[in-house]
């Protein structure tokens, strides 16, 4: 596959000081857009992707040839209607779909960065992406939207740039990564590190990759994205293409086979070092600490209208953690709506066909946009 041909890239010339202390400049930021920017330039929505997402939000991903990760929500006539809105999404820095990441070559050493790549944070990610506004000549986005790590970027974005978005929709996320979140991420990282092929992150030069470790990391993480009930209903104790147990360690159960499949397809499209870097960025995310224990201070300067969405069966970023964001916003009198969507599909609900969610998202956006254009007319 020829990756470069299908990837649009903005070279960010402006120096960006990372939280780790290093400064980067002239770095690539890969992005994709859908729909068209109107003359007033007030219909742009910046979508932030989650841990394993990329800039190819909807339609067929030109690299993987599969549906974009948010095809249910984004597209013509969908919740984030590309007939109406101009949707921009960038691959996060640290990622592996064209943006500056650990699989890039270090110009100084002429070697692949690997673990010499600077540790990046959610803050660094949004500070890199703000450059897209200048690039497109957008003064103010209509909305910033994202689920999971994408939601964390929404919160950080508003905190950093309080007047750069009219509306903000953080979905199934948290303001501070919990011990349990960090624990699961560490499990994934250790699975990668335990793969001999990882070689302390220097694998790229040998064209041997830690695919087994990365697959295990994905399998473990995938369980956390589903719910017990959802798994039980979908798989139960059903056997995989066999009538009885085989008294061995092949995938007897459908759930085993399913997870192995999820692991195997993931390694084809994702870089193990990027997985380490991005999970680290999530673990370091603590907006509460950034504001000395008072989350409300993160939002005190914004007039953005918030809509927070959580899911009943999401135990990775449970409703309570989403509600804490609502509480912090209410404490500074921000304009905030909140709904918890009934779903058995766990954390992944935001990526799936969950009609109540898709309806709420569409209604919020369309109604806010109608107000938005009304104000512009006046």
């Amino acid at each position: 596959m020829n990756i470069k041909e299908n990837i649009k890239t903005l070279i960010v010339e402006k120096p960006l000081k990372l939280d780790c202390g290093q400064t980067i400049n002239n770095f690539p930021l890969a992005y994709e857009t859908y729909g068209s920017l109107n003359n007033e330039k007030n219909n742009a929505i910046l979508v932030f992707h989650a841990l394993t997402g990329d800039q190819f939000v909807t339609g067929i991903n030109p690299i993987t040839k599969k549906d974009g990760w948010w095809s249910y929500a984004v597209g013509s006539g969908k919740s984030i209607d590309t007939d109406k809105y101009f949707v921009i999404c960038a691959n996060v820095i640290g990622g592996c779909m064209g943006s500056f990441g650990p699989s890039h070559e270090n110009p100084k050493t002429k070697k692949i960065y690997g673990t010499d790549f600077p540790v990046i944070t959610i803050n660094d990610m949004v500070n890199a992406q703000i450059n897209l506004l200048d690039f497109f000549g957008i003064k103010k986005l209509f909305s910033v939207v994202g689920g999971s790590m994408g939601g964390m970027q929404v919160l950080q974005f508003i905190s950093n740039f309080p007047d750069k978005a009219k509306t903000a929709i953080p979905i199934a996320c948290t303001s501070s990564h919990s011990a349990q979140n960090i624990a699961f991420n560490e499990l994934g990282r250790q699975a990668i590190a335990a793969d001999h092929n990882w070689s302390d992150g220097n694998y790229n030069s040998k064209s041997i990759v830690p695919d087994k470790g990365l697959a295990v990391a994905r399998m473990a993480a995938h369980i956390t994205y589903l719910s017990k009930k959802g798994l039980q209903e979908k798989f139960g104790r059903k056997l995989q293409e066999r009538d009885d147990l085989k008294f061995g360690f092949d995938a007897d159960f459908q759930i085993e086979s399913y997870l192995r499949y999820q692991g195997s397809v993931f390694v084809d499209r994702f870089d193990a070092n990027s997985y380490l870097y991005i999970t680290r960025a999530m673990d370091y995310f603590d907006l509460v600490k950034q504001f000395n224990g008072n989350l409300s201070d993160a939002f005190k300067n914004t007039k953005a209208k918030f809509f927070i969405i959580s899911f009943t069966s999401d135990w990775l970023y449970p409703t309570q953690e989403n509600k804490e964001i609502v509480i912090a916003l209410n404490a500074v009198g921000a304009n905030v709506g909140f709904v918890e969507i009934e779903s058995d599909k766990g954390h992944d609900s935001f990526l799936l066909n969950v009609p109540d969610f898709l309806k709420a998202l569409k209604n919020f956006l369309d109604k806010s946009y109608a107000e938005n254009s009304h104000e512009t007319r006046i």
């Binding site: 609502v326 709904v339 109604k367």
Partner: protein, 203 residues
């Protein structure tokens, strides 16, 4: 929580609210009152509603609503966040009405509370003649499935203000879609004929 749509009630509530005020509608249902106040008073209005379906309806109307339970979720609002807090016909459904009233008056400078009057003559007659728990248009549930666990009368609410110490700034009764003032001299009469009591209260 079944609420009967009573347009006159909305009009009365709206008349009690100043223009451009910041208002919280507690138990905002499908947002009908919120829309009314937005249109008629240009109110900066928020809602809190326990039912997911109703929250969805409000979102579809472009209203800012938080899914939550007024009994527990008013805590999140700082003191004096709103000029008015409205509680329409739901006080009787709370486990602890006293806490709710205190929370309303903490969160808002003023509160508007409406109560279906259990002292209405039809309710009294219903119980007197039938000997069973009254079922009326505004109270359509059986005793075993009603969300209304703390019914009170207009007179009870007036007494309640003295017991837990809040001021009733204005009290109105709704009788056949007509609104009238309640005062000490007509309380017995209004308590017998008022279908709904509407109270503007302060700390």
């Amino acid at each position: 929580m079944q609420k009967t749509v009573m347009k006159p009630e909305y009009k009365i509530i709206s008349d009690l609210i100043e223009k451009d005020a910041k208002v919280l509608d507690v138990g905002c249902d499908d947002g009908t009152l919120m829309e009314f106040l937005k249109t008629n008073k240009n109110a900066n209005i928020r809602g809190i509603e326990i039912s997911k379906e109703k929250v969805q309806i409000c979102i579809a109307k472009g209203l800012t609503v938080i899914e939550g339970n007024a009994e527990f979720d008013l805590k999140q609002f700082p003191n004096d966040s709103f000029e008015y807090v409205v509680l329409g016909q739901t006080l009787q459904a709370f486990i602890n009405p006293e806490t709710v009233i205190k929370e309303l008056l903490r969160v808002g400078n003023k509160a508007i509370v409406t109560i279906p009057n259990f002292g209405h003559w039809k309710v009294r007659l219903n119980l007197l003649l039938k000997g069973t728990m009254p079922i009326t248009n505004s109270l359509p549930h059986d005793w075993y499935n009603t969300p209304n666990i703390h019914m009170c009368t207009i007179k009870d609410f007036v007494r309640f203000s003295k017991i837990i110490n809040f001021k009733i700034f204005k009290s109105l009764a709704l009788i056949n879609e007509n609104v009238s003032d309640i005062n000490n001299s007509n309380l017995i009469f209004k308590n017998l004929f008022g279908e709904l009591g509407i109270f503007l209260i302060e700390k």
